[in-house]
Point group: C2
Chain length 380, copies 2
């Protein structure tokens, strides 16, 4: 009998849910009276509780970062390329924790959750959450798991922003922050793309002001558009040209509005599969958390000042073809860290895969990342 | 009494419409039995009929390129920065013709026009037109105006593609082709953005399969989204940062989905004003004409071969911050022209305004363009 999974897979995993009854005060001033956080763990916490790492997910991610929920699953968790026995984030050396963020739609309390106070789904009543709010809720999860200090907090894109916020908000609870394909704040263009996505969802007649659950419908059209648009910004122009070029699906132009170019087919497929598995209200919340993230703002726009109390060591990685959060955005972070005499490793990885490169097995990326994780492991 | 317009304005202009009864066979194989073309002219045709230049418009443009329709108009035509007495395209030296393309929504026959055969607006029955079809129809307009040969055919973006097609299809009828911020074909990313715009319009419940005129409605939501998205691609990341940065409209974050960042306000304003004056079916047609443009395709993908019979001289201009049609796209054209030993001037203009730079008064741009037009004028 052969093993159902590869040797470097964490194999079957079981999500767990923790309920929190202590109210969480949010940056908006609103309060979540109680909430659930769903999470997965891979590997074992060591006796000194020093080997825990937290994985933070990006806009459309969730707690299922590695392994399989069922033997029949076609795809593993979203970062299975990097997490597993002997992999970059080695489950034989680290105790890896990955949770679904508040406001999410994969098990943690979010807009689709029934609000116990009203007996109806929160919908638009779910408060807008920020990166700092997520970090607070993750700290409480760490308390429950008996983790005083993370060996590392790790994330790509919006996940990297959480790692940065951890280093600012809980300097004593994080030894390393690993920020991949991140930015210290969004540009006007980044915000503009998010705004178009939000308008697509909110102008969909099936949005019903966010109360679509009760209308037994969903703003599919808007969510599809938001995802198509997002997808364009995750890939580089080069990669799209390489993958699709101007290839025609039927080898000829049909002079109609059906699918003609392969890239159109790809976008529609991505949109359909996403819209079937993601909640529109969560998408709105996630884009707002991105727009609002700006740790420098609290320090008068001075990022170096915002990082003054940070003590973690950093690994920062960017990708040359990432035009969503281009390398110069990572360099802004690195400069501000250097201003504070922090220990920073930085790698600008040559790649043509755009923003999504952080999910992929790119040798230079894996090598740099693995070396850094090895150094952390050697100090456990 | 002061003059109502500046000395370098063409002043009040009056559009004219010409009806064509000879059927136009389109690239799609369909036929337009008869059609109207609306156009404006500025300046006077000289005795030798050698000073005519044709202005070709881009996706959202029209025939009104310069001057004013009414003394009370707040804005002049879309290229008034460049067209007028003593300006780059000098109406004292040239006879300037600017028409609305077939399929448009500003007077030339298009989807909103009533089809004489059915008594109903064409709507989705209006055939998909290509850049080559436009050039054919413009050639017929030239016949009507008694213009055997254009001194120059000039256009930015999709307009530049028409100028290029003119040089290919009517080598004997064009002495100069001026291509600004253009490309020899769209990339997969360009097509992807167009596809999202089309999906936004076509998935709007008010689209009614393109028969919205009869439903007394319009797919405003979709057209707004298409325009917002387009607008992001017309501006550079730098220009958006400079214009809006992360400025907040009310100076603070409100934690809601109203307008918070200035860039959101700008996008919504642009979208509203566009959706009130443009036809959604025309937007669809224009994006298809862009997607299909690929003169090299008829020559086995070899652009140099496609340009073999061209005899015009060329001015090609690109802008450093244009990421919709970046300078390397213009250089592809220049290389293929050089392969054919054609006389080509090329300028890569330093600018931070993105694709829309071709509409603006950028000194280096105007200087290069003016010098080239001066050379044409000196040979009339």
């Amino acid at each position: 009998m052969t093993a159902p999974f590869a040797n470097d897979s964490v194999g079957l995993v079981q999500p767990r849910t923790t309920h929190f009854d202590e109210a969480l005060l949010l940056r908006s001033g609103e309060t979540l009276a109680s909430y659930d956080i769903v999470y997965e763990t891979y590997g074992q916490l060591n006796a000194s509780r020093s080997n825990a790492v937290l994985i933070c997910h990006a806009l459309s991610g969730n707690h299922h970062a590695a392994g399989y929920h069922r033997p029949t699953d076609k795809k593993p968790g979203w970062w299975d390329n990097l997490i597993g026995p002997g992999k970059v984030i080695d489950s034989e050396r680290f105790y890896i924790v990955s949770c679904n963020n508040l406001g999410g739609c994969h098990g943690s309390t979010g807009p689709a959750t029934v609000d116990a106070r009203t007996g109806r789904p929160y919908g638009p009543q779910f408060p807008i959450v920020t990166v700092a709010d997520w970090v607070q809720s993750q700290a409480r999860l760490a308390d429950v798991l008996g983790i005083d200090q993370w060996a590392a907090v790790i994330g790509g894109s919006l996940g990297g922003m959480q790692a940065m916020q951890w280093a600012i908000d809980f300097p004593a609870r994080i030894r390393n922050a690993i920020l991949i394909a991140a930015a210290p704040k969004l540009t006007a263009q980044n915000i503009a793309f998010n705004e178009v996505a939000r308008q697509a969802i909110r102008s969909d007649p099936d949005f019903h002001e966010g109360r679509y659950y009760e209308a037994q419908t969903e703003p599919w059209r808007g969510l599809r558009l938001a995802r198509m648009l997002g997808h364009i910004t995750y890939l580089s122009d080069d990669l799209m040209s390489e993958k699709f070029g101007r290839d025609l699906r039927e080898g000829r132009i049909n002079f109609d509005y059906g699918v003609e170019f392969q890239v159109e087919s790809y976008l529609r497929y991505q949109a359909d599969s996403f819209a079937g598995s993601f909640d529109a209200n969560t998408y709105l919340l996630m884009t707002k958390a991105l727009d609002y993230f700006d740790p420098a703002a609290d320090a008068g726009g001075d990022l170096s000042a915002a990082l003054r109390d940070v003590s973690a060591e950093f690994l920062v990685i960017s990708f040359t073809s990432d035009w969503r959060f281009a390398p110069y955005r990572s360099r802004e972070i690195v400069r501000a860290l250097h201003d504070n005499d922090l220990n920073v490793s930085y790698a600008e990885v040559e790649s043509h895969q755009g923003h999504d490169a952080f999910l992929l097995k790119i040798p230079q990326y894996l090598d740099v990342f693995q070396a850094y994780m090895g150094r952390i492991a050697s100090r456990l």
